[in-house]
Amino acid sequence: MGLEEINSFKKSIYDSNTFCVYKEKIFDSFINTGFPNKKIEGWKYFDLRFKSKSFLEKEISDCFINIEDLSVQNTAHDSYDCNLLFDDYFKPYEFIENEAVIDFNIACGNQIKIINVISSQKEPINIKISNTGVNISLPRIIINLSDNVKAKINFINSFKDGFLNLLIEYNIGKNSELDICRVNKSSSLMVETNLVYLKSKSSFNMNNLSIPNSSSRFQLFSNHIGENSFCSSKTISIPSNESNDDILIDNIFKHSYCESISGIRAILKEDAVCSFQSMIDVKNFVKGSRAEQDCKGFLIDDKATMNAKPQMRILNDDVVCKHGATVGSLNEEEIFYLCSKGIERKQAINLILDGHINSYIGEDRFLKQFLPEEFR
């Protein structure tokens, strides 16, 4: 990134309040780390720096964040910096050091939507992300669940024609449960970072259907800050031809007796590429952790690519962990079995893949409607 471009970015930072100094600091940190993410050097992610270059001269603009079906006693509102407490505003920056896409969003973002869920929801809350124009959008959504609340969110990201760097924070109260059905059908360059803070006995379940038509990166950092908290993140990744789908899941155990499940089923056709990186991170003072991560990549065509990197960093002996990764083509024996009963080869392949989707995320009607037609 050249000096001229940096200056151009600095000018674009919208701020008129006391946070300006900290934003400058964060912006400098993000410039030092690399634009906009260190992971381009770290592993087999698509090169965000290269891909986002064409957007550098564009303006930073809002995208549309629509929230529907939020019951009366709960609230959703737009907020600028002055409405947030200092700690809340900078919490992501403190939490994940040197995560440049987060730094970038906090330093340059000018759109914040806050959803407070103080009572249990009968119907799912619908959140939709969309945009017009070909600009950079740096929105941030903060979702707060009070204690003893159950809620479900249907989340659709249909960003197109631009560069989206979205930051979502989930603060899950004690004894609360949040279920999320996420659909990523973005068709332009997109990074979405999810930060989850789990208080004691809380749970967070995300079923994630990722069907990008461009380059997409999804990051989830679940932070177990209370005992007996639970986090599940299951992804079905079906990027279209010549698309990249990068998935990073970090489960950080900061309290005892917590549990996490993370995994992916990737169906890759033609030139599609998927990268899955998952981390189980158990601190040395944390006991009784249970965690599992698994990855299955189905390469339907010869040119399709799957990269898998399951990782564990465990500093305490009182832990039960499982991990596994398999990548390959479909089992010909299974295909023959179905074909020998009268099913055409293509339909047999789709039936097997549909079976893997069903057995992984269940019969989720909301997600199923967004699956490519052959799997519905």
């Binding site: 299974e334 079995y337 020998s340 009963k341 009268g342 099913i343 055409e344 079976g355």
Partner: protein
């Protein structure tokens, strides 16, 4: 039109570079039940796989006629939709696909291939329940994932259910009796016997006489080292039961 439903002429088959079937000849007329018996490694399962169109096996010579059509180069689904059904010795597990969904898919495929409209959902449900009842299979089993976690007997019973639903012209039972206890063998063989009519035929591949006693084949073929070495009546099975395959080399 030939009086034979299946006619195999001088069939040579290789698996990788090894020749397994070495000039096999076999004819099965309409409305007949035949059995093939033979020692391990004789080529029985290879034959059933080749008849089903498994392209892991290379036909190097010979022809296979089914309903007067040479099926040597047909795909497995095309052979199936012509009316040939193989009940597998080792049915594979397909996670996430329910038995009901699978049955609906194969039944629709067959009807479409034969220019017929698929059944509507309620008609198909009635049709499947009727067939399942014959085999003592209840609705809960139909909701299970295909062969996942099934015992050997349950898998064979499920294969037989597919057979009843598709109602094929020629059925190959590849060691369907293995893994079945006495009661399950009774249920399955009664179900198969009930299907017999003037227009279909059966080819039973087995090591044992139990299933033959239930299904009463008219003709027994002895397959040794890739060839049919003897063909005879039901007494041939008794001979093998008493003396084994030694005399057939």
């Amino acid at each position: 039109m030939s009086q034979n439903l299946l006619e195999i002429k001088n069939l040579h088959v290789k698996v990788k570079e090894k020749e397994i079937l070495k000039g096999l000849n076999l004819s099965i007329p309409y409305n007949e039940t035949h059995a093939i018996m033979g020692p391990n490694g004789a080529g029985k399962s290879v034959l059933s796989n080749v008849l089903s169109g498994n392209d892991n096996y290379s036909i190097t010579d010979g022809q296979i006629f089914f309903k007067d059509e040479d099926i040597s180069d047909l795909k497995p689904n095309e052979i199936s939709n012509l009316g040939l059904f193989m009940a597998f010795q080792y049915p594979v597990e397909i996670p996430g696909v329910t038995i009901m969904n699978f049955l609906k898919t194969i039944h629709e495929s067959k009807r479409r291939a034969n220019g017929l409209e698929p059944f509507g959902p309620s008609d198909f449900l009635k049709y499947v329940r009727k067939k399942a009842k014959i085999l003592g299979i209840d609705d809960e089993v139909l909701k299970r994932q295909l062969n996942v976690g099934f015992s050997g007997g349950e898998k064979k019973r499920n294969e037989t259910l597919q057979l009843l639903v598709l109602d094929p012209t020629l059925t190959i039972l590849d060691e369907t009796d293995s893994g079945l206890d006495v009661d399950a063998l009774d249920i399955v063989s009664n179900g198969i016997s009930g299907m017999k009519n003037n227009e279909n035929s059966f080819l039973i591949i087995t090591h044992y006489k139990k299933l033959l006693d239930k299904l009463n084949p008219s003709t027994i073929h002895i397959l040794v080292d890739g060839k049919i070495v003897e063909t005879g009546g039901p007494d041939l099975a008794n001979k093998i039961e008493n003396k084994g395959f030694e005399g057939f080399n």
